[in-house]
């Protein structure tokens, strides 16, 4: 069972606001989902390598050359709030 405290801890890690109702509902749903995926624990996979990319690519490199990208004004244009040529954020607490 995942406790209410754990749900709150995970929500905080994810910087996700949840109402008390959502916290309660989420706990039950996460429990049910985690129960259903518990099945993978029955496999003994100690010696099996993990797969992160199905094509088994190794490092992909490119030459480090300057090229045109978004102009500063353009990159700032979707920002909810800006100050001069910067993204603006509230006080860092």
């Amino acid at each position: 069972m995942i406790s209410e405290e754990q749900v709150r801890h995970v929500a905080n890690l994810a910087r996700l606001g949840l109402t008390d109702d959502e916290i309660e509902k989420m706990g039950g749903q996460l429990d049910a989902i985690l129960d259903s995926i518990e099945k993978i624990q029955e496999l003994d996979l100690a010696e099996v390598p993990p797969t992160a990319n199905p094509l088994d690519l190794s490092n992909v490199l490119r030459s480090d050359e300057p090229r045109p990208e978004l102009a500063q004004e353009e990159a700032l244009s979707p920002a909810p709030e800006r100050v001069d040529d910067l993204f603006a954020v509230p006080r860092i607490d």
């Binding site: 994810a14 996460l30 989902i33 993978i40 992160a52 690519l57 860092i92």
Partner: protein
């Protein structure tokens, strides 16, 4: 000029445009008019772009002689693919007013004047199997307006089935192209992972996501894949593998092909009516000359649980970018952390929140090895299963989805029942192999999809098998309603 352009496949229309019998502008007008006629009922599109479609179509017409075969055929684009200057919401309030600054690479490959009919509705950030997780309400299945079109690319599938344009792009992370294609009676192709660039596709699960065609028939799927495939230096996971001619061997038939059913995907949890259609098509393939049989994928039962660890883990990381700073919604608060929390609380819907929570939990200290690392090892086992099967056979066959289209609201409060919609689809995503859904026939008056899977980069052979399968199934495209 043919009487009704909506009777043509995308390929048929492309040929008419090439021959000068029809202009791209005429095609765009037909698509716009049909969209105006049915969109209120279907809700396939989040944003319609009739003016843009006409403007681009005129530009395509003006380039007569210097354009690719497919460029004159209007397209619907799933709303997770960035379109420069055209609102792209991902089905989420957090991007309600977001206008991307560039086009997705897959769209740039299609051509410089993409004739977009509209941006297709989808489950929020492509997470879901019904479009009910869209902030803009569900799309409706053109075969039965009380039922879902599937998802997450349900708007794309519904648009094609309803004739709002001749073809559409979807994305497939755990069946999101194939399952809605099956439920709406159209063809849906998930290409090999990396075959189509992900640049400009707003990321869900980066090790699984792929852009794919949703079309009236298999030849259209081959043509649309031709239009969008290719290596892209802007996507470091895109495959640097030559793009073959997907139409060249399409009509070569079944001779020499070994097509076998996967027993693990034909049993428990599959509706009897769905199983019946798939078996009938398999028998038809045998009579038509394919070598048929069975191939086991012993770990496929672990696919869904592994998927529901890997995909949420990746999404919890990918959705961290929606923080109210650079784009999208911001809920003003005094401190930055409270601003993050409130913005994400108001911006994300229930399913996005659930997956962020699940993924964050699975990646958190003390649980990483038991969940994420274990799921990645299951992924290795599933790849080994496929490798063993493809050493002996060419194509694997199964249902695409375990059921026909379900009623709107039926599974919305039961995440596990919804997740089970993807049971036949996720193994191909975990292995990164190509897979295609072909309309196989009807069960309870609703379309059933037959899934074919091939090894990495075998799309030419897979499409050839699919072309023969659609002839055997003899269930051609029908525009609805």
């Amino acid at each position: 000029m043919p009487d009704n352009l909506l009777d043509l496949t995308a390929y048929g229309l492309a040929r008419e445009v090439e021959a000068g019998e029809v202009s791209a502008s005429e095609a765009a007008e037909v698509a716009n008019a049909r969209t105006g006629e049915v969109e209120d009922e279907i809700n396939a599109l989040v944003t319609i772009t009739p003016g843009l479609a006409l403007e681009r179509a005129e530009a395509v017409d003006a380039r007569n002689g210097e354009r690719a075969l497919w460029e004159g055929v209007p397209l619907v684009v799933k709303d997770v693919l960035s379109t420069r200057g055209v609102r792209t919401t991902c089905g989420s309030r957090i991007l309600e007013n977001f206008e991307p600054l560039y086009d997705a690479s897959a769209l740039l490959n299609f051509g410089e004047d993409l004739i977009i009919v509209g941006k297709a509705n989808c489950d929020e950030f492509a997470m879901g199997s019904s479009t009910e997780n869209s902030a803009w309400g569900p799309s409706r299945n053109p075969w039965d307006l009380g039922r879902v079109p599937g998802g997450s690319s349900g708007g794309s599938a519904a648009a094609v089935a309803a004739g709002e344009g001749w073809w559409a792009l979807g994305t497939d992370t755990g069946g999101s192209v194939r399952q809605p294609a099956a439920l709406c009676g159209i063809v849906g192709l998930k290409p090999t992972y990396g075959r189509v660039s992900r640049h400009g596709l707003i990321a869900f699960a980066s090790s699984l996501d792929v852009v794919g065609p949703m079309t009236r028939d298999v030849r259209d799927a081959a043509l649309l894949l031709q239009a969008i495939a290719g290596h892209d230096p802007r996507d470091s996971t895109s495959a640097n593998v030559e793009v073959p001619d997907y139409l060249a061997n399409l009509e070569d038939g079944l001779e020499g092909l070994r097509i076998v059913a996967v027993p693990e995907l034909m049993g428990e949890g599959i509706e009897p009516g769905v199983r019946e259609v798939v078996k009938r098509v398999a028998r038809g393939l045998e009579s038509a000359g394919a070598e048929v049989g069975e191939a086991s994928l012993p770990h496929s039962g672990y696919g869904l649980p592994a998927y529901y660890i890997i995909a949420p883990a990746e999404v919890s990381s990918n959705l961290a970018r929606f923080d109210g700073v650079r784009y999208g919604l911001r809920v003003p608060e005094d401190g930055v952390h409270e601003m993050y929390r409130k913005t994400r609380e108001e911006g994300f819907g229930d399913e996005a929140k659930r997956r962020i929570m699940l993924g964050t939990y699975a990646l958190s200290s003390g649980y990483y090895d038991a969940y994420y690392a274990q799921a990645q090892k299951v992924r290795t086992r599933i790849i080994e299963d496929f490798r063993a099967a493809f050493a002996r056979y060419d194509v694997l066959l199964s249902p695409t989805a375990p059921s026909v289209a379900f009623r709107i609201g039926e599974k919305v409060d039961d995440p596990l029942a919804m997740y089970a919609s993807d049971i036949c689809a996720v193994p191909a995503n975990l292995a990164g192999i190509p897979a295609i859904s072909i309309p196989g026939g009807l069960s309870e008056g609703l379309p059933v999809g037959v899934q074919l899977m091939g090894d990495h980069f075998t799309e030419p052979m897979l499409l050839r098998a699919a072309r023969a399968t659609e002839q055997v199934a003899d269930f051609p495209f029908q525009m609805k309603p």
